[in-house]
Amino acid sequence: MSDAITAEGLVKRYGEVTALDGLSFTVPRGTVLALLGPNGAGKTTTVRVLTTLLRPDGGRATVAGYDVVGDARRLRSSIGLSGQYAAVDEHLTGAENLEMIGRLYHLGAKRSKARARELLERFDLTDAANRPVKGYSGGMRRRVDLAGALVADPPVLFLDEPTTGLDPRARAALWDTISELVAAGSTLLLTTQYMEEADHLADQIMVVDHGRAIARGTADELKDQVGGSRIELTVTDAAELETARQALARFAAGAVRTVPESLQITVAVTDGPESLRQVLGLLADAGVRVRDAGLRRPTLDDVYLTLTGHQASGTDPQAREATR
């Protein structure tokens, strides 16, 4: 058994909505798979099925060799979960929450206490350890919840949008923690809206939409898959955007993406340097004042956009929170 997670044709329906539509994948032991997809793609549903919180309507899945339906109890001993919304007890302190989780993993009173202390330190919560969670900030709650997933040092971890709502420092700290865990042999299934996070942490990225996997590979493989290079161009005035867009459209190998706020246009092209030269020539003739122009490899954002037709979320969590 070299796969820590296997899913075969998972189906989950909510009335008319098909949340999972025959999803299949495997996650080799000791690796990180990131699930990427727009809102409602089925990421949380996947996590809930694999952590035994939801029974699939069809298909089969195993985690750490245990069937999600038939062997739920033993499966739960082998996993740690931090769901999309923090599942902590508001009336208990951070320390009490973690200690309770340890006891429910049957670690015993002493180890549960020690483990709680360790994790609070690791997540920079020592000062707040003995205050009820009720008075914690959103990011602090999130950290207690994440610590909860690590209490039993489980071989397989599920983190559903783990860094949503964390400040950049806490996010970087969590990335370090995750990297350490994975280096020590843990397997991780992670969902995220941040391309940067997937790029940084994941061995493999799977893009899901409408409950189906639409692409899978390493970040580089996915970038190659959408192919070509990008021309990225910034004009000086909003009035020039349309002219520039039309000029670029003549070389486009895909959709032309315009961001009016930043006066920026991006387009995928096949022959990068030659296209760029011609575009600049055209724009010079049309009198468009180009402020910045360049050629770049596709980013994960481009991959995501091309595959799902959705703009990826910004990399700034605050900005994203505000738009929710």
Binding site: T52, L53, R76, D89, L92, E96, M100, Y105, H106, G148
Partner: protein
């Protein structure tokens, strides 16, 4: 850990969590302590001044009824807290852990039993202050409190079942209030049920609240020979009938609550 010890150990862990919560929630604690004080005073002095029972003081007659009422009200905490927890994500956490699923309900009912015990102690002290006395041997009085606590525990499973079926604190509160008023007042808890008109009297005589109240009166010696005794079987054999009621409630509602819990948390 095996199939028998795990629910107990996990239930204990959850019960500890709940008692901590109760200690930190002034509203819950307040109602557990304040409620008995207010009720003993109100019934003893307000109702006590207009209601007469033959052959004994109304306060002595009243207190066992008040005990039963307190237990009914406190047991509703079980259902109410479950609906609150259902609205948060904490059950997801529990279900992703290798704990015994029954541990959640066992823990909840056990912690509420502890709260009920505290509330009964306050109540008994208040009773002694206003003139209630135990007239039986100490072991019978202990049996009386034991019976009340057993009933409290069983009734917690009932409120848990109602809560898990309704799922929101608002609807639970509505139903709980609507159900507990007739249950309390169409009974012999506050007055002599043989004074009631025929249809109400029959309901009152077969009401489990009357059975438990009668049993408590007998075990504390708060009865009088001058009072008419009802012919209804449960009042003639109040102690065994109470035990029977408790057993029936437990047998019906433990599996029902457990099933509803599984359903409620996986939705």
């Amino acid at each position: 850990m095996n199939a028998l010890t795990m629910p107990i150990a996990d239930g204990w862990t959850i019960a500890r969590r709940n008692t901590r919560k109760i200690r930190r929630s002034p509203d819950l604690l307040g109602s557990a302590i304040m409620f008995p004080i207010v009720f003993v005073l109100m019934f003893a002095y307000v109702f006590g001044s207009v209601i007469d029972v033959p052959g004994m003081s109304y306060r002595e007659f009243l207190l066992p009824g008040i005990f039963v009422q307190a237990v009914l009200v406190s047991a509703q905490v079980t259902g109410y807290t479950l609906t609150l927890d259902l609205q948060k994500g904490i059950f997801d956490r529990f279900r992703s852990l290798p704990m015994a699923p029954s541990g959640v309900l066992i823990g909840q009912t056990v912690s509420d039993l502890l709260m009920n015990l505290a509330s009964l102690v306050v109540m008994a002290v208040m009773g002694l202050i206003v003139g209630w006395r135990v007239h039986t041997a100490p072991h019978e009085a202990v049996l009386g409190f034991g019976l009340l606590l057993l009933f409290a525990y069983a009734f917690s499973w009932f409120t848990a079942t109602v809560a898990l079926a309704l799922r929101t604190p608002e609807s639970f509160n509505n139903i709980a209030t609507t159900l507990s008023f007739p249950l309390m007042f169409v009974s012999n808890a506050f007055l002599d049920s043989s004074d009631l008109p025929a249809p109400l009297r029959v309901v009152a005589e077969w009401n489990p609240v009357s059975t438990i109240t009668q049993a408590a009166r007998e075990l504390f010696g708060n009865t009088s020979a001058a009072m008419k005794t009802a012919d209804a079987w449960p009042l003639q054999h109040a102690v065994p009938a109470s035990l029977l009621w408790i057993a029936v409630i437990l047998v019906v509602f433990i599996p029902l609550a457990t099933r509803l819990y599984k359903k409620a948390v996986s939705a």
